[in-house]
């Protein structure tokens, strides 16, 4: 008999068609962070704090050159230092065949790239083969350095951190210095030095890509006006709070890992794959995580993937726990930075603000971003073209850092701001004129919403109206370079917009376990990156099960077979909320079945709490099961569940459910339109004497679909403002142009925004329910820091009447622009 193989369909448009009107815990204000007291009192444990009996400390050698090869290495003196327990050299037999996946020097290929699936599969053209790309990061502790600070050559395990450090200084390396290239434009010139000839021996091209929609030439011809301009976005870096470390303990056939990683389970999978271990022999602990913002916690980079293997090999060899740790400088060197981008724009538009064509030529350093995506995804602009080139250079590894949309968002901001400025139009009007989706207008999107059961709300219009009111736009917006304040400073106000991050796709699973006292544990490993996933998921389970919030706990630190996507609130809540919600719904059903079903044990029948009722007759509120028709008949959840264990033992959990959810696929679905929008307004004062920019006010308006924890969303808004304005005005990784040595690898010289750097933030949430996540929600954590640099640029333009368009917009660049404005107009007033 022939059996037909089934296909598991993934429905890209999965969403909640029914949005609940009233909630008792979801969306409620005034709920304290469940991890808050631990964090505020210093009791929260981070990987950096982990100390095990007999633990050894491991340090890795790093390259002093931006491009060099090890000719010979002598580790004898280091090995002879008392207290040094092992030196792992790059030519160690156990390291052979342990290539890193090629992501730290190139680009990401999706959430987990073990299958080589490209993020925008089918959309891009690789300049290297898939095999080269997978091998591209070289071996762990390779003999070749592609950037200054590259971990190469050897690792040392010793009794104390100081001894490990001292041993590194005793390693004698004979280096062969190689020619280097630091700028993507230089890297693409004929005859340029090859930045990583081991990957590509012909040139420095990593990716090239061409995208065309419609006909841009036709669009330019049809336009009333065509403008051209250039922009640059220089690299900024994670500068994460907790320096990198891991701890690995190898005991017999089993391994325990303490990981400082966002996708810690993916890290475990890569470790298992490389070390030839089955997954069920690896126990994963994931303590609290000092902020990583994506760039810090990727499991496929040396600082996580490679560090795990070094710790693992040394622990296996020495029979002791190994903590491999980076210091602040190492952390700066090896955590990702965003790519250096050089972009040219040509834009055609009509006098009414309708944009007819956008052409972008974008040259980026490794792990760059296209720049065109937001035009595709949330505008009605029919003619778009992108020429993209990505170049290998000898700087620190690149990975998306809050987030992969940085350049896409900035390009959208720049085009809209330049068009509005050329026309002298209110930029909010230009935005609304061109809002749409995949080249189609709002009428089409409105039809799509209705057809697919979404509320038909005009998200951008709602966001703009709220924001304008909050910043007093109608009274404050003025012609560029025309308002001098009594303090002598130049007043500027700006606006930008884009879609909300509603595209999260991936897989998550979670269990809901009720103990016999009626309290619940959510079981699923999830890295806590500060997005309050603990409280958020407890709110969801408490809401769905009718429990008191204090009766629910989230065991996120241990991996017990279930894993969520990470981080959360950032955008993954759109996937993760489905699994806690669905598991909780199943658990509630099971609880009500227990409440109404007798248990027969051989010849004795034990009656349930509600012997004459069916589950549908009952409901649960405040952890009490009650009869809907007569709430005076009620039994505490703890009593119902205790009966199911027949009062035996008291420790056997009688109630367990779990859920799994797959939300679409990365980036490939057609017709999964974005419907939620975000709008930003900023007010600045520019000092015409120094070029210094003071940020007086930022208004964030985010359509989050549904806010599970409003304070958490607001935290992402004002938190993102600080990172976003820092990126706009100061954050930049600076390399010595001759040697490629990084000049500001510390928190004094790399400028992170602090308390005084923004006067006021106003944080407004719109909840249209048009997200694809459970309850109609979508993400918020990534977008603010990503979009805010654009609005600061717009405000500076409004203040001085000239574009800076070279981020970060440091005082020297602002001063130059002011001089240019003066030269053009003979003054600023």
């Amino acid at each position: 008999m022939n059996k037909k193989l089934g296909i598991m369909e993934i429905e890209p448009l999965v969403r909640d068609r029914y949005i609940q009107e009233e909630f008792s815990i979801i969306g409620k204000r005034g709920i304290a962070r469940m991890c808050g007291k631990e964090k505020a009192s210093g009791r929260a444990e981070y990987t950096r704090d982990v100390k095990l009996p007999g633990m050894l400390y491991c340090r890795i050698l790093s390259s002093p050159y931006a491009h060099a090869r090890i000719k010979s290495i002598n580790t004898e003196k280091a090995e002879a230092l008392p207290g040094v327990r092992a030196v792992l050299r790059y030519d160690d037999p156990e390291l052979q065949g342990k290539e890193l996946f090629g992501l730290e020097t190139k680009f990401n290929a999706g959430h987990l790239a073990t299958d080589g699936q490209a993020f925008y599969h089918g959309k891009e053209e690789l300049a290297v083969t898939l095999e080269q790309w997978k091998q591209g990061a070289g071996r762990i502790l390779d003999g070749v350095a592609w950037w200054e600070g590259h971990p190469v050559g050897a690792a040392v395990a010793a009794d104390t951190p100081e001894l490990a450090e001292e041993a590194l200084t005793l390693i004698e390396v004979e280096w062969e210095e190689l020619p280097l290239v630091l700028n993507p434009l230089d890297a693409l010139k004929p005859g340029a030095p090859l930045a990583a000839p081991e990957i590509n021996s012909k040139n420095n091209i990593i990716r090239k890509l061409k995208i065309e929609h419609g006909d841009v030439e036709k669009g330019f011809k049809e336009a009333d006006k065509v403008i051209k301009f250039d922009a640059r976005r220089r690299p900024y870096t994670v500068a994460e709070a907790e320096p990198i470390s891991d701890v690995i303990l190898w005991r017999g056939d089993n391994v325990e890992i303490w990981a400082h990683q966002q996708q810690a389970y993916d890290g475990k999978m890569l470790f298992a794959l490389k070390m030839g271990l089955p997954l069920n022999k690896i126990k994963l602990h994931v303590p609290y995580q000092g902020s990583q913002f994506g760039g810090g916690g990727n499991p496929m980079m040396h600082h996580t993937h490679g560090v795990h293997m070094i710790s693992g090999i040394l622990s296996k060899r020495l029979g002791r726990p190994i903590k491999t740790f980076y210091d602040r400088r190492d952390t700066f060197y090896n955590l990702s930075q965003d790519a250096d981008c050089h972009t040219s724009f040509k834009v055609g538009f009509n006098n009414d603000g309708t944009i007819t064509a956008v052409k972008i030529d974008n040259i980026c350093a490794k792990m760059g971003q296209y720049g065109i995506d937001h035009f595709e995804e949330n505008t009605r602009i029919p003619n778009l073209a992108l020429n993209y080139l990505e170049a290998q250079i000898n700087v620190a590894p690149a990975y998306w850092f809050r987030c992969e949309q940085n350049h896409n968002a900035l390009c959208l901001s720049l085009v809209f701001e330049h068009v509005a400025a050329e026309l002298g139009m209110d930029p909010t009007i230009v935005a609304l004129k061109n809002d749409g989706v995949e080249g189609k207008d709002m009428e089409y999107l409105s039809k799509f919403k209705k057809e697919h059961g979404f509320p038909d709300r005009d998200s951008l219009r709602e966001c703009i109206e709220l924001g304008k009111k909050a910043i007093d736009w109608d009274n404050k917006w003025h012609k560029p370079g025309t308002k001098v304040l009594p303090n002598g400073k130049l007043h500027g106000i700006g606006f930008t917009w884009t879609h909300e991050w509603d595209d999260t796709r991936g897989v998550a699973c979670a269990g809901v376990l009720m103990h016999c006292d009626g309290t619940v544990d959510i079981l699923s490993q999830k890295s806590d990156d500060g997005l309050n996933a603990m409280t958020t998921h407890c709110q969801i389970v408490a809401e769905e099960m009718g429990l008191k919030l204090e009766d629910v706990n989230f065991r996120m630190f241990e991996e017990v077979g279930f894993q969520m996507m990470t981080p959360d609130g950032s955008c993954n809540l759109a996937v993760d909320a489905y699994v806690t919600r669905n598991a909780a719904r199943k658990a509630k059903q099971k609880l009500l079945e227990y409440a109404t079903t007798p248990i027969k044990l051989i010849d004795i029948e034990y009656p349930p709490a509600f012997p004459n009722n069916y589950p549908d007759d009952l409901d649960v509120k405040d952890s009490i099961v009650f009869l809907k028709s007569d709430p005076s008949k009620n039994v505490p959840v703890a009593e119902v569940v205790k009966r199911a264990t027949l009062n035996q033992g008291g420790t056997r959990a009688p109630l367990f459910t779990w859920s799994w959810h797959r939300q679409g696929r990365y980036g490939t679905e057609k017709g999964r339109h974005r419907m939620c929008r975000q709008a930003y307004f900023a007010e600045v004062e520019v000092d015409p004497g120094t070029g210094g920019v003071e940020v007086k006010k930022i208004v964030n308006v985010n359509d989050v679909g549904k806010a599970i924890s409003p304070e958490t969303c607001e935290g992402q808004q004002y938190g993102g403002d600080y990172m976003g304005t820092g990126r706009a005005l100061a954050e930049e990784v600076i390399y010595d142009p001759k040697t490629g040595v990084r000049l500001n690898a510390n928190l004094l010289d790399y400028k992170v925004w602090t308390m005084r750097d923004i006067d006021t933030t106003v944080n407004l949430l719109v909840e249209t329910g048009m997200g694809y996540g459970a309850y109609g929600l979508n993400g918020i954590g990534e977008c603010i820091a990503t979009v805010v640099p654009g609005v600061i640029g717009a405000a500076i333009y409004n203040a001085i009447g000239e574009w800076v368009d070279d981020h970060p917009m440091t005082p020297d660049k602002v001063l130059k622009a002011i001089s240019k404005a003066k030269a053009k107009r003979g003054g600023l007033r």
Binding site: G30, A32, R33, C35, G36, K37, E38, K39, A40, S41, G42, R43, Y46, R48, D49, K51, L81, P82, G83, D159, T160, P161, E162, L163, E166, A239, E240, A241, E242, P243, Y288, Q289, G290, S291, R328, D528, D529, G530, L531, N532, E711, T712, E714, G715, Y718, G719, G720, D721, Y722, M723, N746, L747, L748, V752, W753, T754, M755, R756, I758, T761
Partner: protein, 165 residues
């Protein structure tokens, strides 16, 4: 103690009063107070972030003043009275609760440094205004950008402290 330490010499036995407990410890001349508190004594709330005097995450209160323990040599701290963040939990200081209630943290790694800076402020000025709070905390770095929430949490703790009198 490692052989290297014995060879180098220079280590010194010191006494410190930390969180109302006496500690006698042999320290090497180059050990920072942060290393001693976090690594040797296991009071891990005192965090290593910049290790450079730039971020405030390692702040402890010594003799009533907030200091950067990563920039202080332990060997100079003999006889000193020191308070670390763990003491706020022991003594049920309202800052712990008001920080949690007002979401004045995200990843939480820098939070103990902010809390200790705030504690020192409230010790010397139990009723600070917004400007005084910003003055006190402007040297602390929070990469998550939680700054506005700290002001609210500290004002609320100040009210609770005043109410308790």
């Amino acid at each position: 103690m490692t052989e290297k330490c014995q060879q180098d010499g220079g280590e010194k036995k010191i006494s410190m009063k930390i969180n109302n407990q006496e500690y006698n410890i042999v320290v090497e001349p180059h050990w920072t107070l942060r290393e001693v508190i976090h690594d040797k004594l296991g009071l891990t709330g005192t965090k290593e972030m910049c290790d450079h005097g730039a971020c405030g995450s390692c702040t402890v209160i010594m003799e009533g003043r907030p200091i950067l323990s990563c920039m202080t040599l332990a060997i100079e701290c003999g006889g000193k009275v020191i308070e670390t963040v763990e003491n706020l939990d022991i003594e049920k200081h309202p800052l712990v609760e008001t920080y949690a209630n007002n979401h004045a943290m995200q990843c939480g790694y820098c939070t103990p440094g902010f809390v200790m800076t705030a504690k020192a402020l409230l010790d010397r000025n139990p009723n600070p205004d917004e400007e005084a709070i910003k003055d006190a905390l402007e040297g602390n770095i929070c990469r998550c950008g939680t700054y506005p929430a700290h002001v609210v949490a500290i004002l609320e703790a100040s009210t609770k402290l005043e109410g308790g009198k």
